[in-house]
Symmetry: C2
Subunit: 173 residues, 2 copies
């Protein structure tokens, strides 16, 4: 736990990014520090429960944490991508943002029906993106084993949009 | 070698993506297959030479391969990102595309002077992006230990833009 605490203390905040009024949590110092990344990956393992068989990593920062977890634990990784990036789209979900909508996609023919899939992202904020990723996994026939994030901003109540799926944050702010 | 060959055979081609005339190499079936990813990561280790100390992973597909390599080999990972994504920009490079220009950035204060950095991406095509990533590592004081990619499209001669840096592709097309 000490190691994980130290790892997360490397995160730095940047006010007014990407727009005024937003406090951005920059995890690049965590990513660049090998012991910190090992602690994060181990932290995910301890909370993720029994037997995920595949990782779904959310673009783009979730790719880094999701692929690190997957490689360490001998799992494959499926990228959950923004619209238009995947050449072979299996499923697509449009979801609401504060202003407007966004679209996420998963590739076709890579999630197997019944597979237990761990959804990984860097930060859980309003939960819209994570909920869309879960919906995509489920549309493809997978089972969301859990949603794991490094940081959770509790005031935004993202868990409310993820009901029915176990949600684990390594640190709640 | 057999394992790596089998792993790379999972790649699939998609004609006319993202635009007419482009043959896109889709590596999502490789990413989703745990033994294939293990073979790719081991393939990078065999060619990457002595002692990289950090991985620079190029947005976005390079994040997946770069973070997988870094986590497996106990290294940290630095994301090389498109313009406007990083809240703390250390260095920025603008480079030419076939039409127009693009910009890549690395975060501030995460690459240490003298660090040996392995640059990882999925595909080497014209080499413009990889060359920009190398320039960023060098501007930050790092040393490019090597550039590793899963696939290289030899006809586009990306190596010509990477002179002076060792370049390794797991498969050349």
């Amino acid at each position: 736990m000490g190691d994980l605490g130290q790892a997360l203390d490397l995160a730095r905040t940047v006010p007014d990014f990407p727009e005024p009024g937003i406090l951005f949590w920059d995890l690049t110092p965590v990513l660049a520090d090998a012991p910190a990344m090992a602690a994060v990956v181990d932290g995910f393992r301890r909370v993720s429960g029994a037997g995920p068989e595949l990782v779904a990593a959310i673009e783009a920062r979730g790719f880094l944490f999701g692929a690190a977890y997957a490689a360490t634990h001998g799992l494959g990784v499926v990228p959950v991508r923004k619209a238009g990036k995947l050449p072979v789209v299996g499923h697509r979900v449009e979801y609401r943002l504060e202003y407007g909508t966004a679209t996420l996609e998963v590739p076709g023919a890579v999630i197997q029906p019944g597979q237990r899939v761990l959804v990984i992202d860097d930060v859980l904020a309003t939960g819209g993106t994570a909920a869309a990723a879960c919906a995509l996994v489920e549309h493809a026939g997978g089972i969301v084993a859990a949603v794991c994030v490094v940081l959770e901003i509790a005031a935004l109540n993202g868990r409310a949009r993820l009901r029915g799926r176990p949600v684990h944050a390594l640190r709640t702010l």
